[in-house]
């Protein structure tokens, strides 16, 4: 049974932080000299503050609903309550930032706009932000997927054939330490489009960690497992794909999550160095016009997008490795 006091504590901390931030945003007048432009979104006239308040209310609504859902399960509720103080603190931090950045403008402007100021980027050019986000997403998806496929493929070859291991490992060791973006000049001149060039860089930065961890996983398969498989009628392909590869899965996933972090870095750097779109490109473009609120807006989108991608990968990993001791609680 979940205690009543726990319910009150969990919900009030999770929701009130954001609601207080929204309330005070409405109550505290803007004392700094800021021009508030009005925008029309789907026929409704809004400004940065009302939009910001809407975001805060949506946030608290999300946490209200997720709390209600987690009430069904004791462990989930425990996890929810554990996150409650940080949710409250986030709301208060946003409040302080709002006052310092937008209301009183005590932070150096235009470098540190308040949260409501950042919202303005999404009101001015929602279409443009979306286009650039999708561009980044396409780039990431193409580069990451190809990199994982090549990495696992190469890793299997390196891990399985001693000859391949002998010839390829030194190459991997030397080239693997080079940051992928160092190849940018070559990529841009040798490949037909900037998009292909950036995909190439992401593929490279994903390829190496996935290859080396896959091959390690394959090589570490105990002999007894191969022998058991052979006495059960396995051919060589079975030994590779039914024994060695599943055995290597935990390492493969370690490689993939490492590669994922590399891929984000490479993606943004590649975009900042010469792409016709993407969040990195958007940052560069905004910087030129000193539109730092747009830079922040791009950063916020990255934070949300990359967290989302990472969370999906974690889910996939958890499912694929459900047979591992200690992983499922």
């Amino acid at each position: 049974m979940i205690k009543k006091s726990s319910i009150v504590y969990g919900f009030s901390l999770s929701i009130t932080g954001f609601l207080i931030a929204a309330l005070l945003n409405a109550l505290i007048p803007i004392t700094a000299d800021v021009e508030i432009t009005e925008y029309s979104v789907a026929g409704i006239t809004v400004d940065i503050n009302s939009t910001y308040r809407a975001v805060l209310i949506v946030l608290s609504a999300i946490f209200l609903v997720s709390g209600l859902i987690s009430l069904k399960d004791h462990d989930k509720w425990k996890k929810y309550v554990k996150g409650a103080p940080i949710r409250f603190a986030s709301g208060i931090a946003l409040l302080v930032w709002d006052i310092l950045g937008t209301k009183w403008q005590l932070l150096p402007q235009p470098f540190f706009p308040g949260p409501a100021g950042i919202v303005e980027a999404f009101l001015i050019e929602p279409q443009f932000v979306l286009e650039n986000t999708l561009y980044s997403l396409r780039l990431y998806a193409a580069g990451f997927a190809l990199g994982v496929v090549f990495g696992v493929g190469t890793g299997i070859l390196v891990g399985w054939f001693p000859k391949v291991y002998y010839w390829v490992t030194p190459v991997l060791k030397v080239t693997g330490v080079i940051p992928a973006v160092a190849w940018m000049p070559f990529a841009l001149t040798l490949l037909p489009t900037p998009f292909a060039a950036a995909v190439f860089l992401i593929v490279i930065c994903v390829w190496f960690p996935v290859t080396s961890l896959t091959s390690q996983g394959i090589k570490s398969t105990p002999k007894v497992q191969f022998e058991a498989a052979r006495t059960l009628g396995s051919n060589t392909l079975d030994l590779v794909f039914r024994v060695a590869v599943p055995h290597a899965l935990p390492q493969i996933f370690t490689g993939i999550s490492t590669a994922n972090a590399f891929a984000f870095t490479t993606l943004v750097m590649a975009e900042m160095m010469g792409q016709p779109g993407g969040l990195g490109y958007y940052i560069n473009l905004s910087k030129v016009w000193s539109a730092y609120y747009k830079v922040f807006a791009a950063i916020v989108v990255m934070a949300v997008l990359f967290s989302f991608i990472t969370a999906i990968l974690e889910r996939v990993e958890k499912y694929a490795l459900r047979w591992q001791k200690g992983l499922v609680r």
């Binding site: 105990p222 006495t231 059960l232 039914r242 047979w323 591992q324």
Partner: protein
């Protein structure tokens, strides 16, 4: 099973088997020296001996996992050169696939032999046979050591083997689980009539299970004696015949190890 008229019906003929290993210093070690042994169809035979006597090497050679340097192993008129599902092998431990459930582990052989679709219905039968109902969807880390060995036995049996090779399968189990698996093996032997070759270092286990016991001695590994066990089943570990056999075997070991070659490596 050991009927006199069928004396000639050997499932396995091992002739002059020799296997030499290189040890860490590069010196030759004779794991098997001139080992010859015939195994009757449907027989339960145990190979016992101290560690290093080559009993596991012999079993691995029968399985086709280890290649002898000379000599031959013939099973039903074909020479054994590589592993085959007709000779099931149960390892001491670690043979299960951790990423497969109990059910998937048992079905593994059907899948690699590409007969899973036709023989799918066999899987529950073998789960039932080793008494693992209710654990079909468990992963190896979720079951006990004794259960894991039952899975290992079941997944070899589903391949319909002519022979089961057991490499100290009870070695890592506690004594209660061990007795439980021993009875299971006897039951399987009785009902399916599969030829069983068991490697063990447990004299009681060998007497309890076997029709014949092969005694091996180390350095070089060879067969020193073969003893028939003519005690009717079910055998009781405390009864006189059992204890007499035990004494006899212990004497054999004393004889076998009474005159070790003086060997000093300084």
């Amino acid at each position: 099973m050991a009927e006199q008229i069928e004396k000639e019906d050997y499932i396995l003929k091992i002739k002059n088997l020799r296997r030499i290993y290189k040890d860490d210093d590069g010196a030759d070690v004779e794991a098997l020296e001139d080992v010859s042994l015939n195994v009757k169809r449907g027989e339960f035979i145990s190979i016992i001996g101290a560690s290093g006597c080559g009993k596991t090497t012999l079993l691995r050679s029968i399985a086709g996992l280890d290649k002898p340097d000379s000599g031959s192993i013939v099973m039903d008129d074909h020479k054994i050169t590589k592993p085959d599902p007709e000779r099931g092998y149960v390892f001491q431990q670690g043979g299960l696939f951790n990423w497969l459930t109990v059910e998937q582990n048992i079905a593994y052989g059907l899948k690699t032999r590409k007969i899973y679709k036709e023989k799918k219905s066999e899987v529950p039968k073998y789960i039932e046979l080793v008494g693992l109902n209710g654990f079909e969807d468990s992963y190896p880390y979720q079951i006990s050591g004794g259960m894991a060995q039952r899975v290992a036995i079941a997944r070899t049996l589903i391949n319909d083997p002519k022979m089961l090779l057991l490499d100290e399968p009870m070695g890592a189990l506690d004594s209660f689980t061990r007795a439980d698996i021993q009875d299971k093996l006897l039951e399987l032997h009785k009902f399916n009539g599969i030829t069983m070759v068991l490697v063990t270092h447990d004299i009681d286990e060998a007497i309890y299970l076997s029709d014949r016991i092969v005694i091996m001695t180390p350095r070089p590994g060879k067969i020193s004696n073969i003893i028939e066990v003519n005690i009717p089943h079910p055998r009781q570990r405390g009864e006189a015949e059992f204890l007499a056999m035990r004494r006899k075997l212990l004497q054999e070991f004393d004889l076998a190890t009474a005159h070790p070659e003086p060997e000093y490596n300084i």
